[in-house]
Subunit: 405 residues, 2 copies
């Protein structure tokens, strides 16, 4: 079984790569600290006897051989990149939990029929390069590699350039690498397990999510001389639209709506802004309701643009439909949790995960553990060592169950 | 009288320092292009026989001697710095109009009793260093020089550093330099003169203006997992507050309210923003109404912070009370316009000007000319050559009238 204290010490050790003053992490995909933690990942997995390769999207695969020739690997993965002000568990637990599984197999001298591969997916967060889950998306054939490589960060560095500069683009084309099954361990990132005092979330699937960019175009003019009725104030219009995003979320069952980035130009106190860009993230467990939310959102933006005398363009950036995991893999997770006598409940993920795309090309499931106050994408993100160990234990036993099926 | 074509060619020549692709100017105070136009100013005025000095705040004074010993100078001034996406007339016309007056005096071999000084005030716009009119404010004793020098731009360069780096801090302490009168020519920056087809605005004074910074503090959290009811979304709260600023302006007679800068952090599409800062500019011709606007604004911010479950701190940044110009100087402007048979009307300035602070230490008045569609703080800012010439003519004759009184 899992060596919980070794797993915890791995979590704390890698939290040194990109540590922030407030106890969180700033480790954007393919930045200097991400390169360091990738090196740590490769070194640690090699020391455990694995062969480690990068594919052309920089995804790292650490492979432990199986006993039965010709079987595809069972993959365990997540990501080591973080949000700009992210926590020490989001994604990281899934990769280091995979390493903990490797260690348990090595220490217990356990042979598996399938090879086991631990995967570190590139740019899951979507914080440096949008959209999220970009490299697992290429792996699953959801995005072309050309599209993914052309995505640029705010300094106009493309993902392709960042891969090349960091020496992370491997020879093996991304995706030519099938999996027998895929398992991902993650903190819940929400409040449900903690509120109900459950140790394990048996994840049924992932809600639908859509991203947009809204550009609002008014007219720069003087804050002191332009009568209120003669303004085309892009920021006032954007403010009402941002409030409307909240309104859309509130008026559809289980809807979520978030504006995370706002860029207001020309950014001078005494200039009425002529140009504003903001991002919109809409989510719903039901694709039907999510579509209704999009229609409602578009209608409200159009009405507000007209009312404020500005132009607004809504551009879709990303659309990830609701995902339903593989019943056999989900059953492996449930049985593993039951074997180990952890309290559990079924749960749907509010966050996107690499598992969403892997589910399109392999039987997939996820394991959730609680996190403090349900807080994530925050430097204060935290999880209990006992829950972390429990999650990795369920991951280990789910993989062993899947190996027999 | 004024050589209008020379004035126009000066305007077009200096528009080469910091020209933007869209025909405007980007010439932030003490930036590279501002240093170039300052050199142009000094060279041009020296060629017209003036002595040119910088004071310790970088204000440039070009002095043409008078005939009567012991008389203080009549000053003509404005500024050569611009907004980030500014026009070719705002401020510039006032300085180059002063040079046009110098030229007319030289060409006509006119002697004045008082010395005439053309002034280029440092950092009028408040775009690089807040607040506006910073150096004329120090000249007038409204701000201490220590306060002004400590103001920092967005790269944390202080005004003091920028003065030193640009070699613009002269030996003469700012303010030890009294004026007999102060005149400033400016485009109206608003729509009134154009709408009424008047050539000259006889400026009665300047409305009151107050600036604030609002900091909104919520909690960073995950856009996909945080229920709408458990959020502390600083951007949603800020959006409602920005709409409320508009509401405050609309519900007070002659009120204006503008949010020009919005900084939303941590600025990731799938992170509910935990920190937002925005600027607020409130204006009213009546200080009493402006005070009521501030109270209304503060009450609305507090109520919305509570309603959205965030904290908000309102910090005053600048407060410039309504200004009433000197009746004698205003009469000089009116008489000059009448002499030259220009159509005119009385007007109150919506924008702040260096004249607002000069009015505290010298008899002061201003001359306005129309600008295209009333647009300013915009690269499309424009004015007619005939109006520009008319304004400089009124400036010349107003100064000559003041010289006799
Ligand atoms: N797990 C996670 O936070 N992924 C980022 C993608 C999302 O926004 O849900
Ligand atoms: N004239 C002018 O645009 N000055 C800037 C100060 C203000 O915001 O009114």
């Amino acid at each position: 079984s899992i060596d919980g204290s070794q797993l915890w010490s791995d979590l704390m050790e890698t939290a040194g790569f990109g540590a922030t003053a407030r106890g969180g992490l700033h480790r954007l995909a393919l930045g200097a600290d991400d390169l360091k933690v990738r090196e740590w990942f490769a070194g640690t997995c090699r020391a455990l006897g694995c062969e480690v390769i990068h594919d052309s999207m920089g995804n790292q695969f650490a492979r432990r051989p199986g006993t039965q020739p010709g079987l595809k690997p069972i993959m365990i993965g997540s990501h080591l990149d973080t949000q700009p002000t992210g926590g020490r568990f989001d994604g990281i637990l899934g990769v280091l939990g995979g390493i903990a599984v490797l260690r348990a197999l090595e220490n217990g001298k356990v042979q598996t029929r399938h090879p086991i591969e631990i995967v570190n997916w590139t740019n899951e967060e979507g914080a440096r390069f949008t959209p999220p889950m970009l490299a697992s998306g290429v792996f699953a054939g959801v995005f072309t590699e050309g599209y993914a490589r052309s995505r640029a960060d705010r300094d106009d560095i493309t993902l392709g350039d960042a891969l090349a500069q960091g020496g992370q683009a491997g020879a093996q084309p991304c995706g030519q690498h099938p999996a027998a099954a895929y398992f991902e361990l993650h903190i819940e990132q929400g409040p449900v397990l903690e509120a109900e005092a459950k140790t394990i979330g048996v994840v049924q699937g992932i809600q639908g999510m859509r991203w947009y960019e809204v550009r609002v175009m008014g007219r720069d003019s003087h804050a002191g001389t332009t009568p209120m009725t003669m303004r085309a104030d892009a920021m006032w219009a954007a403010a009402r639209m941002i409030d409307a995003v909240h309104g859309v979320a509130m008026s559809h069952k289980d809807g979520l709506g978030t504006v995370g980035i706002v860029d207001c130009q020309p950014a001078s106190s005494n200039v009425i802004p002529g140009n504003v860009m903001f991002t919109v993230d809409l989510r719903n467990p039901s694709d039907t309701v999510l579509e209704a939310m999009e229609q409602d959102f578009r209608a409200r933006i159009a009405a507000l643009a007209e009312d404020c005398g500005v132009e607004a363009i809504v551009s879709p950036v990303w659309n990830s439909a609701a995902v339903h995991f593989d019943p056999t893999c989900v059953a492996c997770v449930r049985e593993a949790a039951a074997e180990e006598r952890y309290s559990m409940r079924d749960i749907v993920s509010g966050a996107g995960h690499d598992a969403a795309y892997m589910a399109q090309v392999a039987p997939t499931a996820m394991v959730f553990v609680p996190c403090l106050n349900g807080i994530s994408h925050n430097e204060a993100e935290s999880a209990e060592p006992t829950d972390v160990t429990a999650g990795a234990n369920v991951l280990l036993h789910a993989v062993l169950l899947a190996d027999t099926r």
